[in-house]
């Protein structure tokens, strides 16, 4: 019985295997997520601080550049440093998974976006 399989039987088994693999995929990825989260407390700290600093640095650089181009010193630097501060906070909240991602809907009704960024 095991030896004389129809070609259709093989097709069916392949489909079953694919379905089983597809069912396993999300499990595996969530397992991966918890593993990296446990290991990455130190990585998390570095990540959040680098996000925040990057926002401020880019804001200051943009402001300085605009001032040089347009001769509006020091207003560009002041305004863009503040914007950069805002962007830094936004980056941190975003990578902590507390704010919606780029381009998606703002979390309405006061709820927190459950999707988490890794």
């Amino acid at each position: 019985m095991a030896n004389d399989r129809e070609p259709g039987d093989l097709e069916r088994r392949r489909r079953d295997l694919e379905a089983a693999l597809a069912a396993r995929r999300p499990e595996e990825s969530s397992e991966e997520g918890t593993k990296t989260r446990n290991a990455g407390g130190y990585g998390n700290a570095l990540r959040l601080s680098s996000e925040f600093i990057a926002g401020i640095v880019v804001g200051a650089a943009l402001g300085w550049f605009i001032d040089r181009m347009a001769g509006t010193s020091p207003w560009g630097l002041i305004v863009f440093l503040l914007l950069g501060f805002g962007a830094g906070i936004l980056n941190v909240l975003r990578s902590a998974g507390l704010v919606a991602e780029f381009g998606s809907r703002a979390p309405g009704r006061g709820d927190i976006d459950p999707r988490e960024k890794k």
């Binding site: 290991a39 990585g43 926002g55 640095v57 936004l90 809907r105």
Partner: protein, 249 residues
């Protein structure tokens, strides 16, 4: 000099080349980049060349790295994102192998220089911007306008979103570079304690066991960081590519 923790990051010219006043020298950094690409390419090519249906150990390492990156990209960017698979996989393998190469004694760590990681991050963000505009035209700019924001606040929110977007390559590159730099300096400093303590006779040598144990532990941590940073770099690349493919959900 033997105890200088920064010395390991010095660039030295192996073959000085100068074209039109610009320095194109082949440095030790370039040599290690070539070595990284050659090692990663040779590993993937040689391990998969037998094409065993039942993979050997080495072949299953290659297949696992493929599956790992493929599922990461599919989760983040959907099946449309799979056209970027060669790009993401090359980046992941380059960063991973460069990080791991850096853990060999006397080897140069390519990713501990910010110019290298920044160039990689610019490549990522350049791809995102070019593909986003090519695919969606000006619709790509919707990325910067979250829905449901009051009209009065839109200019402010857009300005903040733009700065936040521009800060991505910086944070992407600084994270990788800072992790590698800090890790290698820490390792070197603790290893240096071992030699300088053991110069103080028997008591010093007994005390040197502590930094030695620390160095062993840190080496393990560095292996973790090497994998983790390559993973983080690839995951964030996937998420940025997702923004380019779907600027508004």
């Amino acid at each position: 000099m033997a105890n200088d923790p920064i010395h390991q990051f010095q660039i030295s010219k192996l073959i000085p080349i100068e074209i039109g006043g610009l320095d194109f020298s082949f440095t030790n950094s370039s040599a290690f980049m070539v070595a990284v690409v050659a090692a990663a390419g040779a590993f993937l090519y040689l391990t998969t060349s037998s094409r065993g249906l039942v993979p050997s150990r080495m072949q299953s390492i290659s297949e696992m790295s493929y599956e790992f990156v493929a599922s990461m990209l599919r989760d983040a960017a959907g099946s449309h994102g799979m056209r970027f698979f060669p790009f993401v996989f090359s980046l992941f393998m380059f960063v991973l192998v460069a990080n791991l190469f850096g853990l060999f004694p006397y080897f140069f760590t390519v990713t501990s220089h910010i110019i290298v990681t920044f160039a990689l991050a610019l490549l990522v963000i350049g791809t995102v911007i070019v593909y986003g505009f090519w695919k969606h035209g000006l619709g790509f700019l919707k990325l910067f306008v979250p829905e449901g924001v009051p009209a009065v606040l839109v200019p402010l929110v857009v300005a903040i979103e733009v700065v936040s977007f521009l800060s991505r390559p910086i944070s992407l590159s600084v994270r990788l570079f800072a992790n590698m730099l800090a890790g290698h300096i820490t390792l070197k400093v603790f290893a240096g304690f071992v030699t300088s303590l053991s110069a103080f006779g028997l008591a010093g040598a007994a005390g040197a066991v502590l930094p030695l144990a620390m160095t062993v532990a840190l080496t393990g941590l560095e292996f973790l960081v090497a994998f983790l940073q390559a993973y983080v770099f690839a995951v964030l690349t996937c998420m940025y590519i997702n923004d380019a493919i779907h600027p508004s959900h």
